[in-house]
Amino acid sequence: MGLFIAQLITGLANAGALFMVASGLSLIFGVTRIVNFAHGSFYMLGAYIGYTLMQVLPGAVGFWGAILLAGIAVGVIGMLVEILVLRPVYRAPELFQLVATFGVILVVADLTLMIWGPEDLLGPRAPGLRGVIRIMGEPVPKYDIALLVITPIVALLLWYLIARTRVGVLVRAATQDREMVGALGVNQAWLFTGVFALGCGLAGLGGALQLPKGGADLLMDFNILTAVFVVVVIGGMGSLPGAYLAAVIISVVNVFGVTYLPQSTLVLIFVVMVLVLMIRPYGLFGRPEVAGEHGQVGEPEKPIRPAGTQVRLLVAAGIATLAALPLYGSSFSQVLATDILIFCLFAASLHFLMGLSGLVSFGHAAYFGGGAYVAALIVTHSNSPMELAFVLAPIGAGLGALIIGWVCLRLTGVYFAMLTLAFAQLLWSLVFQWGEVTGGDDGLVNIWPADWLNDTTVFFYLALILCIGGILAMRHVAHSPFGYALRAGRDSDRRAEATGINVKRVQWLGFGFAGMMAGLAGGLFVFSKGSVFPNEMEIARSFDALIVVFLGGVKTLAGGVVGAATFKGLEEVITRFEYWRLILGLLIIFVVIVMPEGIVGTARKWAERAGWLRGEETRKRKAREEAA
């Protein structure tokens, strides 16, 4: 009994920081509809700033003051980020802002390293709260008790702010219906800024509050991110009580998991998340998304056309130049080109899904890594020839995508994206944990192609043929009735269903097809590298693809490939510098602000404006001129 209560207290204390970070994220999402990937970075900043302040400010007052000040400081930083980085892109297409927040992650990571150095900082103890008290004989750290009290107080203050003040009314109104806020005569821009600052401040507060239980280190930004996303999704995006309840549930489940299922530490929260979403698709307190609710849908896409002769000739010339690479390029240039081609195929497969069907997957690496693992597992565990393993990679990934897609397609929008993330993480933890079969994080090694393929140049040609072929095949499918049906479902679900198109089924097959193509890229990847590790399935890999698709331009056919090639190429150069994350982050933010429709989308617009391309704009202008 005593142990049980002590465990409960541990869980509730752990929920504290988690709740604060998650409530901030939830608030930001609820009002601005921004999925703030950088939220973990603000949490990290809170910890570092709090640490520094605690070194300066003396005594108990100094300690608690430092926590409060850290929250405020991070809030101010958040405000600056919102004004400088996000405000310029509110009108960009749905979810585009998350790319900007990804840039912020990179910038913050390097700045933190510059300012505070690489070593982990052990958090200072809370004055007067060292040691334990005994509850029914069980030791409970005093600071846990403090957290137990502080968290509900913060939650209540937040509740008061939201439920009882004018600001709160506006925030709630904005969460329900963003148009209404404008109608109330409130400056929406400042409301967004304020909420973003508040959300970031909460993250900072969480970071500072956990100092006595841990410290500050450079990996904490990503380390908390998954847990926070899980909490927000389980609670229901935009719901504060949901965030609180979910933080408590996750923390308490974790504590008991540690005791009774010690091996489960990785998988448990994702299992909880998947279960909750299966029963309550919009989280405990969430509400279904109204179509197009994200606002910021931007202009509708242009109709697509097969490329004209000129473009075809250009592309053919480009491919020919690439195919001649072994004649003039070094062996390494072929290795590099193979890498870039594979990544382009992977990104193009996500782009196929996002661009045509409008389904945003946060977990696309599951199929890339999945394909790689299918091939590697077959090679490792059965003596089948490489060629067979290679063929099974896309098939396996495609089947996996069909299974996961079948479940995820019950949801839409951000919830769909989050569920794909949860499944990807579930697969990742399976691969990571099931060491006997998958080798765990030591991966599967010595997965090399058959002898006839084992030459750099030959493999380059294989990659060239399959990647370009795959990309062209996806492009062809985009122009086929199936591709059109995907777009139809995205553009108007009502119309599609009312003309006999089974939108869910079309999307499901599209999801499977995109997964299969990602699996093909994964198969190529594993044989080009000779090994595969869980890294190829992790969130960071999914984000890689997501970011380049957005940067290339979701609403263009070539966006995925262009974005992937551009950024993979740039990365190759930039990572040679010491502070490459800073440079890359700033570059991403720059592109986001200057090219809100992605590289291809914005370039096309510029070209139209300059009169190089015919578009609606020129047509309209012509019409006006004619009328005049």
Binding site: E299, P300, E301, K302, P303, I304, R305, P306, H476, V477, H479, S480, P481, F482, G483, Y484, A485, R487, A488, R490, D491, S492, R494, R495, A496, E497, A498, T499, G500, I501, N502, V506, L509, E616
Partner: protein, 285 residues
């Protein structure tokens, strides 16, 4: 497969069909029928025990003030909503609770009050989409969609007077054009029943008349039965064969233009409610 090998089937088929229809005696059994159709949203009964029938070749208007339950009724007819109670029969078959796709395949087409078209496609492609679905080509990945059933689509667009706009981007169309486009889409599978939810909303008066004349012609030539809702009473009285009035979910009157005009209950609903029999564009359109 290129479009060249597809004969413009739709048109000739239509012709054949309308001929047989005009020769056959008018069928006594209704094409579409509802029995005690009811829909409750929580406590609000949006459609309350509505029974009516639509005869073959009939142009039937369903009118009523805002929020009367007209769109809800339409949604139950085609399966966008499942009724709380009651049944829908199509050509002698109970289609209650059937999903819109199936109902569509059984020969029901519709337009929406808030237009539903594919914003990223051209006008022509919007219609081709419905034709591809009709011909079960949705899942094929070989042919280029832009070329499939192009002639049929152009013929349908011609019918609604939009053939010259076939290559335009749907997103830039005027509202009235979107309504006409929807009509072309709804006709793509040669339906027996056409449901039109406020087909003329957002149009100029002249346009409205043109569209309703067109609708009447379609009823005439293709033997389609049409059920439509409309706020413009001039349009309703001029173009419908029969009128039903819905108020707070209940059918309160039914008959020809004359009967409806003189029905005291109807007058009360419209006049008493402070609205006149006049143009009353759907505010939500």
């Amino acid at each position: 497969m290129t479009t060249a090998s597809h004969p413009p089937a739709s048109q000739s088929a239509t012709q054949a069909r309308s001929e047989t229809r005009s020769e056959a005696p008018p069928s006594p059994s209704p094409v579409l029928e509802t029995r005690n159709l009811t829909k409750a949203f929580g406590g609000l009964v949006a459609v309350d025990d509505v029974s009516f029938s639509l005869q073959a070749g009939e142009l039937l208007a369903l009118i009523g003030p805002n929020g009367a339950g007209k769109s809800t009724c339409f949604n139950m007819l085609m399966g966008q909503l499942a009724p709380t109670r009651g049944a829908v029969w199509l050509k002698g078959e109970n289609i209650t609770g059937m999903n819109p796709r199936k109902v569509w395949r059984k020969g029901v087409g519709r337009t929406f009050q808030i237009t539903a078209t594919y914003a990223s496609m051209t006008v022509g492609e919007n219609v081709q989409m419905a034709l591809m679905s009709h011909h079960h080509r949705i899942l094929s990945i070989r042919p280029r969609a832009h070329r499939l059933y192009r002639d049929e689509a152009l013929a349908l667009l011609e019918m609604v007077g939009m053939a010259d706009q076939a290559e335009r981007h749907c997103a830039v169309l005027a509202y009235g054009d979107l309504k006409r486009l929807e009509l072309a889409i709804a006709l793509a599978h040669d339906p027996a029943v056409l449901l039109m939810d406020e087909p003329t909303a957002g149009m100029a008066p002249r346009e409205r008349i043109r569209l309703m004349q067109l609708t009447a012609e379609i009823v005439e030539n293709r033997g389609v039965s049409v059920l439509f809702t409309e706020h413009d009473m001039d349009v309703v009285f001029a173009h419908s064969h029969r009128i039903m009035v819905l108020n707070r979910g209940q059918l309160i009157a039914e008959g020809n233009a004359e009967a409806i005009r003189n029905d005291p209950r109807v007058q009360e609903v419209y006049l008493g409610g402070g609205t006149v029999f006049a143009q009353e564009d759907a505010a939500d359109a």
